[in-house]
């Protein structure tokens, strides 16, 4: 035991005494630097020429386009088609560096030779790239499953506070959509192949939760693997939507290397629609009365005052008054890694700060984190891995949610002023379109605040023992404990808004949102995981390679939350004890979960040609009836590397890799609430009663009918893929088709109990659906001399179909056509087929009736005209046809272009999504919604040439003639007038970097310095109507589109290694 202790101590030493190490290292490197420049000076004028041929170790043939550089410079040449080269270089003890993709880089000392033939070894490291899979890792070439992998370097080419944003467009089949741009929001949609929310595994532990994943410090990440097919079955229950596996960095032997990364940037909204100004709004409001035959809303003189912007008739641009043009973001991280024979380590600290776009500066997000991953060789056969991660983040917003603030910025009338009598001490009482003065709402001093703090602690310890008597037999034990503590605090202050009374020179206050309240919410969640692994790899006759993995896993989770709130009679301090004691409230709940799993995997390959993998997981979950809680989730997959066959290899030499693979397996996903098998009275869901005055008794609800058979739903996932590599990895293609069939989706059985029964049936596993899709990625990389480039494109198209939908019999075939869901694609929206706009009053009169009982009495020239699909002269529900894809993109693609030349590098990412639509409600898609403002685009409308002369001509416009909502005909029905295809392609990121030449670095004592500039969401091509809202952003609450704008950003970054 003594020895173990001491080596542990050694392991910690570098991390603890990092400071000492820094000093030591500085001394040595400065000393070394002094010598090199002296030598260069002496020999710089004497040159000589070296020539030779570069050949391959595989076939002895010459390798074209080998990059040959004089070490420490960017001077060099490339080999010709035969592999021959000639280079002029300074006299002396020189070294040439030979590099080519697919081969190991080789340094050769010239030693005065003028003829130098070099044999490059095949880069087996590169081909033998290892990919992290569930409970282990595998050679990429031996993979039989659809697994994508992305490494740190590729992740880091995009700057964003959310890790998900840094992945978007880069991984085939990983569907990502940024829902909102709010700092610290982390609600980006992440979805593998259209399956649903995936399972997240971080460093071998299921740490579910997309927001946890998105918060990871990207500097800590070594690689991310995405299990896209049935290979997810190794994770059993809750892996039916695929698995995202994150592996963080570990240290490697060698002297300590420090790395600093810093980015500073500004963010501004991609697009926000311009709202109507006062003159526009008044003109349209005036139209709204005139168009229905009422007298004008305003006299001509009044209207002219608005049009002229006379004093007292100015226009307020509420958005500009509320929001900034841009906000600052910054990220810094510093890490150290290194180690010796017995201990290696990686340790980092990170900081991120993101400001919001409110002018009040009251939206902010900050994050701090640290991570230490330590590997210690305790004895010859025993290795310990210790991972510790901590994070603190805090998000603050004003005491009114952004939705309401933004609603104010959109809906407040431009004819109203932000302040009463223009006096900034008195925010004006503006309540248009069901909103409240957004400037007041966004002010923390006025309305209070909400703050959310999260503290994360994640840890794991693993011991791996390699049996001395049987090579490649290992046993590993792992224990992990994670904790997340959430603290939310909100202060909602009542606030006063003012109107100005000119006669009395008084400001008349109206107090809103009384009384002030304060809320504290706490939640503490814990997760523990225990794993025992048994691993054995062996090779029989050097031909049969066998790998086995057996794992036992046990997971438990428990949590408790509480919420407190009080009201103020009079606001004193933002402390809960300082608030009043009336209406004190508190609530809380606890939860727990547990699962046990046994899993095994067998991999087999025959000389790397024929690949087979069989795995299964036997999962038990606490959620279900004891007889129904255990399930087996198997997967089988196989591959044939045809390129390894002699007949192939000897004939088709440019094909370096050709693999066909297929997988099939079963995965489960939890369904419904836990404990549905236990009948019982419940204190939630029942109403309460006041038996004694002032004393409320919460009642107990009667037991529901239980379903002891309720279980998870099952996913059958099939995948067939082909992988093709040409010219030693210069060109790669991967293509997959996949299908997932889910059965046992929850539904209520359609026996439709008579509604006199008084109870409802429980949920049962009845429905089924199917996702089908294709996916491919293509890449090409090459170098032309110093110029290296890489092009990588990926594409995914997947749709979901309802297969079985429990429901009652159809009344008739029409009913089946309209209401049927089975065997149809889901997410399809029905609407009227828009034929155009009525061009004149005659057209309105002779058109089919499209506004029900009111006929076409409310329709005017310029109004939308729909197709009478069934030709019955009436446009009603029966004329709806399936016209649109709904709100979820079905197609995702990305194209990465990267290149480097000498010290310069460039990376561009184009990303796009398609086959979906958006439809807004409220102000963005309604004129005068709740008599508030609307976007300026509606100004391009049908209107009378002279509003004060009802007999004047109609002037055509893009939008219908202005009317209040209640006076409109059927303009707002679902049609392509409002539901727009949101397909887009955008320049997601563009980065330019420059790495200082090593020679220069020598002088300043740094190993590597790279500066870069990049931008995010720089440019978007999409439907012009949608563009104003950003096509990627979701419609959000009430489909209003009042979501925090997505942002574009411009950043400067610095990357230093020393």
């Amino acid at each position: 035991m003594k020895k173990m202790k001491s080596s542990l101590f050694h392991g910690m030493a570098p991390a603890i005494y990092m400071g000492v190490a820094v000093q030591l290292w500085f001394t040595t490197s400065v000393f070394a630097d002094r010598e090199v420049p002296m030598e260069i000076e002496i020999i710089q004028n004497n040159t000589f020429v070296v020539s030779g041929q570069v050949t391959s170790s595989v076939d002895g043939l010459g390798i074209p386009a080998v990059n040959i550089l004089i070490k420490g410079t960017y001077t060099g040449t490339i080999s010709d088609s035969e592999g021959s080269y000639t280079i002029e270089l300074p006299m002396g003890n020189e070294t040439l560096v030979f590099s080519s993709i697919g081969y190991l880089t080789q340094e050769v000392q010239v030693k005065g030779n003028t003829r130098l033939n070099v044999v490059l070894q095949e880069d087996t490291q590169n081909l033998d790239e290892f990919v992290v899979v569930g409970y282990g890792e595998q050679k990429k070439e031996n993979l039989t499953a659809a697994i994508s992998n992305i490494t740190s370097k590729e992740i880091q080419t995009t700057t964003h506070s959310s890790l998900a944003q840094k992945l978007q467009g880069k991984v085939a089949g990983l569907q990502i959509r940024q829902n909102s741009g709010a700092p610290g929001d982390f609600n980006t949609m992440i979805n593998i192949r259209g399956f649903g929310s995936p399972l997240y595994v971080i460093d071998g532990i299921a740490r579910d939760g997309a927001s946890e994943f998105q918060r990871l410090n990207p500097e800590d990440i070594e690689s991310i693997s995405v299990l896209k097919d049935a290979s997810a079955a190794i994770y059993g229950l809750n892996a039916a939507n695929g698995v995202i596996i994150v592996t963080t960095k570990r240290g490697s032997k060698g002297e300590t290397t420090f790395q600093y990364n810093g980015v500073l940037g500004i963010q501004s909204p991609t697009n926000v629609p311009e709202m109507a100004n006062a003159a526009q709004w008044m003109e349209m409001r005036n139209d709204a009365d005139i168009n229905i035959g009422k007298s004008p809303y305003l006299s001509q003189e009044e209207l002219q005052k608005y049009q002229g912007g006379l004093p007292g008739y100015e226009s307020t641009q509420w958005y500009d008054e509320t929001m900034k043009k841009w906000a600052i973001q910054q990220q810094h991280s510093i890490s150290a890694q290194g180690g010796n024979e017995s201990v290696t380590y990686f340790t980092s600290i990170g900081y991120l700060k993101e400001e919001g776009l409110l002018k009040s500066n009251d939206i902010n997000y900050e994050k701090y984190d640290f991570r230490t991953n330590l590997t210690a060789k305790l004895t010859d056969n025993l290795v310990a891995d210790l991972n510790i991660m901590g994070r603190y983040d805090k998000r603050s917003t004003p005491g009114e949610n952004f939705f309401n603030i933004f609603r104010g910025a959109i809906s407040s009338l431009p004819s109203h002023a932000p302040y009463a009598n223009g006096n900034p001490s008195y925010p004006g009482l503006v309540t248009d379109g069901q909103s409240v003065n957004p400037i007041a709402l966004s002010d923390r001093e006025l309305t209070g605040y909400s703050e959310e703090e999260n503290k994360f602690f994640q840890s794991s310890v693993a011991l791996t023992y390699e049996f001395p008597f049987l090579k490649n037999l290992k046993v590993k034990g792992l224990a992990s404990f994670d904790n997340n503590h959430y603290m939310g605090k909100s202060l909602f202050k009542s606030y006063k808004l003012y109107t100005y009374d000119e006669t009395g020179d008084r400001y008349i206050p109206t107090e809103l949102r009384k009384p002030s309240t304060i809320h504290n919410n706490n939640a503490d969640n814990n997760r523990s995981t225990l794993q025992a692994h048994l691993l054995y790899n062996t090779s029989l006759n050097d031909r049969h390679n066998i790998g086995t993995t057996l794992v036992y896993e046990q997971r438990r989770g428990w949590g408790r939350s509480s919420a407190l709130s009080r009201e103020y009679q009079f606001f004193t301090n933002d402390q809960i004890d300082q608030a009043g004691t009336n209406n004190m409230r508190n609530s809380g709940m606890e939860s727990e979960y547990a699962s046990i799993s046994y899993l095994g995997r067998l991999t087999y390959d025959y000389v790397g040609k024929y690949l087979l993998e069989v795995a299964a997981r036997y999962d038990g979950s606490y959620r279900y009836h004891p007889d129904k809680r255990w399930g087996l989730f198997p997967v089988i997959s196989g591959g044939w590397r045809i390129s390894e066959e002699d007949f192939f290899r000897n004939n088709i030499r440019f094909v370096t890799n050709l693999k066909f693979r297929g997988s099939y397996g079963l995965v489960g996903q939890d369904a419904g609430n836990p404990f549905q098998y236990i009948p019982g009275f419940s204190t939630s869901g029942g109403g309460g009663y006041e038996f004694v005055n002032g004393n409320y008794l919460t009642g107990a609800a009667s037991p529901a009918i239980v379903n002891p058979n309720l279980t998870w739903f099952e996913s059958n996932i099939k995948d067939i893929g082909v992988e093709l590599g040409l010219f030693r990895g210069k060109f790669n293609l991967e293509f997959d088709v996949y299908q997932r069939d889910r059965t046992g989706l929850l539904a209520y059985r359609n026996v439709t109990l008579p509604n006199t029964f008084g109870g409802t049936l429980p949920e049962e596993n009845l429905n089924s659906d199917r996702v089908r899709g294709i996916e491919f990625s293509v890449s090409h990389n090459n170098n032309i001399g110093d110029f290296q480039y890489n092009i990588e494109g990926n594409f995914n198209f997947g749709r979901t179909m309802n297969v079985y939908v429990e429901r009652g019999p159809f009344v008739n075939s029409m009913d089946k056509w309209r209401s049927g869901a089975a065997n149809r694609w889901s997410d399809v929206v029905w609407g009227y087929d828009l034929e155009g706009q009525f061009r004149n009053e005659e057209e309105v009169v002779f058109a089919p009736i499209q506004n029900g009982e009111l006929g076409n009495t409310r329709e005017l020239p310029g109004d939308f005209k729909y197709r009478d699909a069934n030709g019955d002269g009436v446009i009603d529900g029966n004329d709806n046809v399936p016209l649109f894809w709904g709100g979820n993109p079905k197609m995702h693609y990305g194209l990465t272009l990267s290149a480097s030349w000498k010290g310069f590098d460039m990376n561009a990412l184009l990303q796009g999504s398609g086959n979906y639509s958006v439809r807004f409600t409220h102000a963005y898609a309604t004129l005068f919604w709740a008599e508030g403002n609307h976007p300026a685009y509606f100004y391009d409308r049908w209107h009378k040439a002279d509003p004060y002369n009802p007999d004047s001509e109609w002037v055509p416009g893009k939008w219908p003639a202005s009317r209040l909502v209640q006076d409109m005909g059927s303009m707002y029905a679902e049609s392509s007038a409002w539901r727009k295809d949101a397909s887009y392609v955008r320049l997601k990121s563009l980065e330019l970097g420059y790495t200082l030449p090593p020679a220069v670095l020598g002088h300043i004592g740094l190993k590597n310095v790279r500066v870069y500039a990049n931008g995010h969401n720089l440019f978007t091509v999409t439907d012009p109507y949608v563009k104003a809202f950003d096509p990627e952003k979701i419609e959000g609450q009430l489909n209003t589109g009042w979501v925090y704008p997505l942002t574009m950003s411009y950043n400067l970054g610095l990357n230093v290694r020393f």
Binding site: K514, G687, G688, Y689, N693, A700, P754, G758, G759
Partner: protein, 637 residues
């Protein structure tokens, strides 16, 4: 040594693994029946949910159902009164826009019935005293009677399910046909009798549980309803299968039997001498108005009149109600954005008696010629009665105290604020600006059409946010005067009087008159009751017992207690009253033709109103889900 160490290590690791039934977790939010029912306090927990579901048409009863007080119960505040001639909503016109699905109650009804049946079935098995069992049985019958009453008055005859059904996979076995309407009403009364039989006269500690008296009161109300249906069927007869099978409709010959049941139940309460009218002899109309207002502001101070209360305690989602936020006038909204939704009509205000003319409705006279019934709005050639700016409510001075306790009149003070309700002005040249926002300067003074420059400073007629009365009257009954209820959802905790003595007296009087019942000196008893209610409202002159007098008194006394809707239904008056009918407003105008300016009042149709018609099939609501329950649908659906 090394081997020992390794073994030791792995053993200690395995110790960590020991998985003592990791998966056997228990739900943290469920109770089993033994635990719940083995203790009277546990039983009370179950009863709480039953009473909660009991269809009491209280503060949380709106067009979209009962208990509309969870989450954000935004239903525009459309209480039953808005669907009658009592009031109109400030935003919507009522009736037709909402259709026949309003105030429906079916699925929740049968859920309650299932829940009650579970209790009634469990009672004999419980380990409690016989007396406790008797009480539980009584409460179960009371709630079941209440539930079937609520079903019968909406749907006529319904399936009578008296024990909890078991589902064993055969849906057909669960189908129960409709009983006739007569059988249904008889069952309701019979259940009430079981309740009367078993319930105690009171509960220790004043618990708001059903007592014998509450059960009598329920029977009095239900029997009167059934009797009226039988008597007035012919006023609006329907036809169809449901009628042929007597699933809806009662024979006229049944009327007297039901009236008698009402009379007997009412008399049981009257003869018990346990109840009285609250503050039965006020000294002045002002005092009477205040007494009447207080009765509803806090019924706990008037327990002599209250037979059964549904209480509200905790404010908050699912517990409080929204009367104070929906119905306060705009000026006392206390920061709530949607006040002023209930606007009492001129029709209601007209029906109140004046003290100088007892026994008659006393419509508001606005002109000097004393003509009644000119509802055509402002006419510059007419001579209007003028009232000072300070005291426009002089117009109502002689009216019944209960008007003052029920309605906020223009210019009166409410919550220390003068409630400004003004619909426009008459310019010195005799032209009028009505219900349009404008101001004018005259003789150096600025006048505003709505009485003040800013929408926060007045409560009438502006269309702003739908917060202003459009009848000229604000709503007062039930609102808290002194407490400023927090301006957010579900913050009011006013208790609701589910049955009160005055209703019983009025039920009794109506039943006596309608059935010509003369036994036991019933007529003089009824006449005494009628006048005692009026005396409580500071009337000093007795009026004779006539049907008109009783029905007017009922309309006035029980205004906004959600009785009017059913009174119009059971007496088959809805379709007569609402036959292309509009509701009316009394618009105060500031008359600038005189110096200083004075108020005049103008009678007219409410603006933005739609003529309303009650289609006779609405007397029964359509039965939902007939496709699966196999029931015969009601006529004309």
């Amino acid at each position: 040594m090394k081997v020992t160490r390794n073994i030791f290590m792995w053993v200690s690791l395995l110790a960590l693994w020991s998985c003592e039934n990791v998966l056997d977790l228990k739900p943290l939010d469920k109770l089993d029946s033994e635990t719940l029912f083995s203790d009277p306090e546990g039983v009370k927990l179950y009863l709480a949910n039953l009473y909660y579901q009991t269809p009491i048409e209280d503060f949380t009863y709106f067009f979209n159902g009962f208990n509309i007080n969870t989450g954000d119960p935004n239903n525009s505040g459309i209480a039953p009164a808005i669907q009658t001639d009592e009031a109109i909503g400030s935003e919507f016109a009522g009736l037709s826009p909402w259709g026949s699905g309003d105030f429906a109650w079916w699925d929740q009804g049968y859920k309650l019935i299932r829940d009650v049946n579970l209790l009634i079935e469990a009672v004999p098995t419980l380990n409690i005293s016989d007396n406790e069992k008797k009480v539980l049985l009584g409460e179960g019958s009371f709630i079941r009677s209440f539930a079937y009453f609520a079903l019968a008055k909406r749907y006529g005859g319904v399936p009578l399910i008296t024990s909890p059904q078991e589902y064993g996979g055969d849906v057909e076995a669960l189908k129960v046909p409709r009983s006739t309407e007569k059988e249904t009403w008889d069952f309701i009364l019979q259940e009430a009798d079981v309740a009367i039989e078993n319930l105690p006269e009171s509960f220790a500690g004043g618990e708001r549980r059903a007592t014998k008296w509450a059960a009598y009161a329920l029977k009095s109300r239900a029997a009167l309803h059934a009797a009226s249906l039988a008597k007035f069927w012919d006023k609006s007869p329907l036809s169809g299968t449901a009628v042929d099978q007597k699933l809806v409709g009662l024979d006229a010959s049944e009327a007297d039997r039901y009236y008698l049941a009402c009379i007997e139940a009412s008399e049981a309460i009257m003869d018990s001498k346990r109840f009285n009218l609250y503050q039965s002899s006020p000294a002045s109309p002002q005092e009477a108005a205040e007494n009447y207002r207080r009765l509803f502001e806090d019924p706990n101070k008037a327990l002599e009149e209250v037979i059964f209360i549904k209480g509200y305690a905790l404010p908050g989602t699912g517990t409080g109600h929204n009367y104070d936020i929906w119905y306060n006038p705009n000026q006392t909204s206390n920061g709530w954005p949607h006040p002023g939704r209930m606007n009492p009509t001129l029709e209601l205000v007209d029906s109140y008696e004046s003290y100088s003319n007892p026994g008659e409705s006393s419509p508001i006279v606005t002109t000097l010629d004393g003509m009644v019934g000119d509802d055509n709005g402002f006419d510059r050639n007419k001579s209007y009665k003028r009232f000072s700016v300070e005291n426009p409510y002089q117009l109502f001075e002689d009216k019944d105290a209960r008007l003052w306790g029920t309605v906020i009149l223009p210019g009166t003070t409410w919550k220390d604020k003068r409630i400004i309700i003004q619909g426009g002005y008459v310019l010195p040249d005799g032209s009028a600006k009505i219900e349009t926002k404008e101001s004018v300067t005259h003789n150096g003074m600025t006048y505003h059409t709505y009485g003040a420059p800013d929408w926060t400073q007045y409560s009438g007629f502006d269309t702003h946010a739908g917060n202003m009365t459009r009848t000229g009257f604000g709503f007062k009954k039930f609102l808290q005067l002194d407490d400023n209820v927090t301006p957010s959802w579900n913050q009011s905790t006013t208790d609701w009087i589910a049955f009160r003595y005055a209703e019983i007296l009025l039920n009794h009087a109506e039943a006596v008159l309608e059935s010509n019942y003369t036994a036991d000196d019933a007529r003089s008893k009824a006449e005494k009751s009628l006048n005692s209610i009026r005396r409580r409202a500071a009337h000093t002159v007795d009026i004779p017992l006539t049907l008109d007098n009783v029905l007017r008194e009922r309309k006035i006394e029980l205004a906004f207690e959600n009785k009017r809707y059913w009174d119009l239904v059971r007496r088959r008056e809805y379709h007569l009253l609402f036959n292309n009918a509009t509701k009316h407003a009394l618009v105060p105008l500031l008359d600038l033709r005189v110096e200083p300016a004075q108020y005049i009042f103008v009678r007219r149709e409410v603006s933005r109103g739609t003529p309303l018609t009650f289609p006779p099939q609405y007397y029964y609501k359509p039965i939902p889900g007939i496709g699966s329950n196999g029931l015969v649908q009601n006529p004309q659906y």
